[in-house]
């Protein structure tokens, strides 16, 4: 093997190698971030969809083109009478069904992601329609008085600034639309849709946001999970112009969005990796060009072609590996401090270390094919060409 020679070739041109490594590092770093964002996003959407097992969400879109899977869509609007009629549908668990009013308080940073903070009005006593089996971190998950409110953890964090920077907990009060509401419960760990929710009684929400007599959606929980499709078709038969989504529908629309996102992101990822491959390839091609005489000498003193191949491939793999090693801490830094909302945790990134390793070796190998091909074709006679 001539791997030590590969290493010496890298070492011989320190500045050039360093720049290559930095180039690879920034590409790989970018790749890791895009990858991480996609991973987080997919997890988030799947979490939301799963939270709606056995439930049916009914909306009426006033504007066309609104995202169908956007459960918190505030562009949907239903009359309260329609909502009451829907809640009277047979085969549903009325206690776990409710009319809801979603109103965004703070916008999300990215499309398709639920609003950063959203107000949720629901019928007191029917909290389970929205919260399902979620547990409280503290306090209770039921609303008994008109001025009571339940916060998700993200929402609690949001109101911290309104609370002189102190953590918002039960018995804290928060100002919403000119009214002061009393926090009675904080949600435990939950998907973002819930974590960012400010949950209050429906009449309170209608009053605060000036939406009397209307709701944005109705969530029905069927008594028998197997009967979801039957209930859905009976609603569709009885009412027209409504969007009726079961978990399956949500899954379908979520995955079509995810697919679109994924193919878009993979184009970006591929481009980023291609840049890395080209950077390494240019550098290795130049170093093969410079070393033709030495390669010729190696061939002349008996180095087989495969050894020359290992030398060149080794050189580009080492370059891309070192680039990856530099990229890893940078990516971790961003994950940790810069984008904790959107990227999964440090351990999450580390869990894919082997993926990263494979990527680095893959970039190196891909980058080495052309130069290695040039190198193995160097004739022993080239050792004799002198300046």
């Amino acid at each position: 093997m001539l791997l030590d020679l590969a290493w010496k070739n890298i070492w011989r041109r320190k500045l050039r190698s360093l720049l290559t490594i930095l180039g690879v590092a920034s590409a790989v770093q970018l790749y890791l971030m895009v990858h991480g964002v996609m991973g987080t996003y997919t997890g988030e959407i799947n979490g939301q969809v799963n939270a709606f097992a056995g439930r049916i969400v009914i909306q009426q879109q006033v504007e066309s083109g609104g995202g169908k899977s956007d459960l918190t869509s505030s562009t949907s609007s239903l009359m309260e009478e329609t909502a009451e009629a829907l809640l009277a549908t047979g085969g549903i668990d009325r206690a776990a069904s409710s009319a809801l009013l979603f109103v965004p308080i703070a916008r999300a940073l990215m499309p398709y992601i639920p609003p950063a903070v959203v107000a949720v009005g629901l019928e007191p006593g029917h909290e389970a329609a929205y919260l399902g089996g979620l547990k409280a971190a503290s306090g209770r998950l039921t609303l008994e008085e008109p001025d009571e409110v339940i916060l998700g953890q993200g929402a609690a964090e949001y109101y911290r600034s309104e609370n002189n920077g102190d953590p918002v907990g039960i018995r804290s009060t928060i100002p919403v639309g000119g009214r002061t509401l009393k926090v009675v419960g904080i949600l435990g760990d939950a998907p973002q849709l819930f974590a960012n929710a400010v949950i209050m009684p429906l009449p309170t929400a209608q009053a605060i946001f000036d939406r009397p007599g209307t709701v944005t959606s109705v969530i029905l929980t069927v008594q028998n999970t197997g009967a979801v499709e039957t209930v859905k078709s009976s609603i569709q038969a009885g009412f027209s112009g409504l969007t009726v989504s079961t978990q399956d529908d949500m899954l379908r629309s979520a995955s079509s969005i995810l697919d679109a996102m994924n193919s878009f992101m993979s184009i970006i990822e591929t481009s980023i990796l291609t840049v890395a491959v080209i950077v390494v390839m240019i550098v290795v091609i130049v170093s093969v060009m410079e070393a033709r005489r030495e390669i010729g000498t190696l061939r002349a003193v008996g180095a087989a072609r495969w050894r020359i191949f290992t030398m060149v491939a080794g050189q580009s793999i080492v370059l891309s590996m070192m680039g990856t090693l530099v990229a890893l801490p940078i990516a971790l830094f961003f994950v940790q401090w810069g984008m904790s909302d959107y990227l999964s945790s440090v351990t999450g990134v580390l869990q894919v270390w082997w993926q990263i390793l494979v990527t680095a070796v893959g970039v190196g190998l891909a980058a080495s094919i052309l130069p290695a091909w040039q190198a193995v074709r160097v004739d022993p006679l080239e050792s004799l060409r002198y300046e």
């Binding site: 020679l5 008996g302 004799l384």
Partner: protein, 247 residues
């Protein structure tokens, strides 16, 4: 006697910008196992070109080179590479050391191609470098060495795999007479005691006189040949010489 190298009407023509240079013009050569052959001739007479053909580095324009009766033209690249790795040691006129490797590594690396185990490689490299007088310079890079020192590294590298055939292109070109004599005696020695074969190109007649046979090359052809067999009585030689000087 077994022939280690044989050439049959070998020619080599280089085409350069439409001008054909006939470097080798039909050479028939037979070298026996264990022989020390010197090739002398003026600059440009085709000595190096011939050596490259014998060393399986270049392909003849016509004719055939045989290594132990195997025609080189019938060998594929792998076989020729293997031949160069194990059976042939080449001392380049231009040294051709690898600039990124130090003296020790330059010699050691070819032993990998010869398939030697690591411990043996280390041991043998050290002893070879001691033989050529470079034991102190093992960790130096070639660009820190004088021309003569580089040449001696090239000699050590060529002998690394104890090849049956050593092809030396001006191996003493950059050496003073003392170190040059050392190298020539080393080449003579490997012929005598190890039965290795040496073909040496030189324009120094004194170096050529170490050989068993001297071929004179001119314009790509063998112009003459002198066998130097038979060692004479040293005392008698001196006596004759003194007689001449003092008559």
């Amino acid at each position: 006697m077994n022939m280690i190298v044989e050439t049959k009407n070998v020619t080599k023509t280089f085409g350069m910008n439409g001008i054909a240079v006939e470097a080798v013009r039909g050479i028939d050569l037979q070298v026996r196992e264990g022989e020390f052959v010197a090739i002398v001739g003026p600059s440009g007479s085709g000595k190096s070109s011939l050596l490259h053909l014998i060393g399986a580095m270049d392909h003849p324009t016509s004719g055939e080179v045989f290594f132990r009766e195997r025609p080189l033209s019938r060998m594929n690249d792998g076989a020729r590479t293997d031949l160069r790795a194990r059976e042939i040691g080449f001392i380049f006129q231009t040294f051709n050391l690898l600039p990124m490797l130090n003296v020790f590594e330059n010699v050691e690396v070819v032993m990998r191609f010869g398939g030697l185990a690591k411990r043996e490689r280390i041991q043998r490299t050290e002893s070879l470098l001691k033989t050529v007088g470079l034991a102190e310079r093992m960790r130096h890079l070639p660009n820190r060495l004088s021309g003569g020192e580089r040449q001696r590294v090239a000699v050590a590298r060529a002998l690394a795999n104890q090849p049956a055939l050593v092809l030396a292109d001006e191996p003493t070109g950059n050496l003073d007479s003392t170190t040059g004599t050392g190298i020539l005696e080393l080449l003579r020695e490997i012929c005598n005691s190890r039965k290795q074969t040496v073909i040496m190109v030189t324009h120094d007649f004194r170096a050529a006189s170490y050989a068993d046979r001297v071929l004179v090359l001119r314009d790509g052809r063998i112009r003459g040949e002198a066998g130097l067999k038979g060692v004479t009585d040293t005392h008698k030689t001196l006596n004759q010489l003194l007689e001449l000087e003092l008559e």
